[in-house]
């Protein structure tokens, strides 16, 4: 299935020297890489049923054609196993859709990272993590699938910090940010199913996000109060970061899901409540040091975090104990939107 590989080859003494070469040339994220040799790259392409020259996607602004070969190289470097490649490929396809705005999210001073949410049987087949420390370290597929996207952005899209990547700060999710949804331990509809993917199929949903912000509420059994905690964190983000409406993501742990389930709240109910409650006026900018821009328009004008309830991505994930959830704000309002893509079996 694989055809001729087109990438030039570099000869090095051993794996240590391969890493030294990649570090020296800025071809990595600062962490060590697995040397992308031809046999490894071929085995990845074969596992995904792809030819090296297949176009996985085209970055719409600079028209960079992303080949399966380059995606496989990034996946090898990131430490993926061959069977992870279809998840990486689907994520790249999602990021190349125009509504994702890949160029903007890669280049912006706002410094976002692609969040990948994985749904369906592939999570179990790859042993992905949806529970303890789900936004942190510990799971190979979570860590390396997300990292493969970053390495691809650096090497294929030129998203090199200080060059095309103009991030003022960036955030730790730019190393990797990939989670599986805990479909087995949730009464809720999986995210991908809500977004049109057939039941039983695997899919990724990708969204450009700022750093996750943890919220904590362990003192209520009232779903409305819990929803208010998430809405308050979103309001704070609207005032201190960006007021513009777009896709927010919330990660809801088991302890919170139980309270929503006991109250009969679906994901839809939570989305509608957050849509109703996550809103601010321009005047409130005065309370956070942004008085200079508050009067540029009607200060009593109401701004919503979500254009509609559907803008909120609700993700069931996290360890079994603890009332800790997270809000992941959008990079810049609706300039980059969430995209869901099926994973080729």
């Amino acid at each position: 299935m694989t055809d001729t590989l087109r990438s030039p080859q570099h000869e090095v003494a051993d794996a240590f020297e391969a890493n030294e070469l990649f570090q020296r040339n800025g071809w990595t994220d600062g962490l060590p890489i697995v040397p992308p040799t031809e046999p490894l790259v071929r085995s990845f392409l074969e596992a995904a049923g792809l030819a090296a020259s297949d176009a996985v996607g085209v970055e719409p602004v600079r028209r960079r054609r992303i080949t399966a070969e380059k995606v496989a190289i990034a996946a090898v470097m990131a430490g993926c196993r061959p069977e992870y490649l279809p998840v990486v490929v689907a994520s790249v396809q999602a990021m190349c859709e125009p509504e994702f705005g890949l160029h903007g999210v890669t280049a912006s001073t706002g410094g976002s990272a692609p969040l990948v949410v994985v749904n369906g049987p592939v999570r179990l087949a790859l042993g992905m993590n949806a529970t303890h420390n789900v936004l942190g370290n510990g799971s190979r597929p979570n860590a390396t699938i997300g990292r493969a996207l970053r390495l691809l952005i650096v090497n294929v899209l030129g998203g090199i910090p200080g060059q095309l990547d103009r991030s003022t700060l960036g955030h730790p999710g730019k190393f990797t940010l990939c989670v599986a949804e805990d479909e087995e331990d949730s009464a809720w509809l999986p995210l991908a199913a809500e977004r049109g993917i057939a039941p039983g199929a695997s899919a990724v949903t990708v969204l450009a996000v700022e750093s996750p912000h943890q919220v904590m509420n362990e003192w209520t059994h009232d779903p409305a109060e819990l929803a208010e905690t998430y809405a308050a964190a979103i309001r704070a983000n609207m005032l201190t970061y960006s007021i513009w409406a777009g896709n927010y993501a919330v990660v809801v742990p088991k302890q919170h899901r139980q309270i929503f389930a006991e109250g009969g709240w679906s994901k839809r109910d939570l989305r509608e409540r957050v849509h109703a409650r996550a809103r601010v006026t321009r005047r409130e900018w005065r309370s956070v040091g942004k008085g200079a821009v508050a009067p540029r328009k009607d200060e009593d004008g109401v701004y919503t975090a979500l254009r509609s309830p559907d803008d909120l991505l609700v993700i069931a994930a996290g360890g079994p104990a603890g009332g800790f959830g997270a809000v992941l704000p959008p990079w810049y309002g609706k300039k980059s939107l969430a995209v869901t893509k099926g994973i080729r079996p």
Partner: protein, 93 residues
């Protein structure tokens, strides 16, 4: 025994877009300025246009502003800019 590793970059394949050959002179040329709709670009291009006209005696400057900094320039703008001998395209801030 050595190891052969594959180059991870796209440009290494020569697939990336390449720049056109530079003009021999700007004197009498038509220059396009594509504004990427960031806050400072218009002022920067005002200054650049003056330099191009006064110091380099370009014949015409075609200025277009993209509707959105993070999206491609619309086809009609690219069509209008194609009349230029050289184009300055703003990316980033």
């Amino acid at each position: 025994m050595t190891l052969k590793v594959l180059d991870p970059r796209l440009s290494a394949e020569g697939e990336a877009a390449s720049l056109a050959a530079p003009l021999a002179t700007l004197d009498g040329a038509v220059v396009g300025l594509l504004d990427n709709a960031k806050i400072g670009t218009a002022r920067f291009y005002d200054h650049l246009e003056e330099i191009l006209r006064v110091r380099y005696r370009v014949r015409e400057v075609i200025r277009r502003r993209k509707p959105d900094s993070s999206r491609p320039a619309p086809a009609d703008q690219l069509g209008e800019l194609s009349a230029a001998d050289a184009i300055v395209s703003g990316i980033g801030d």
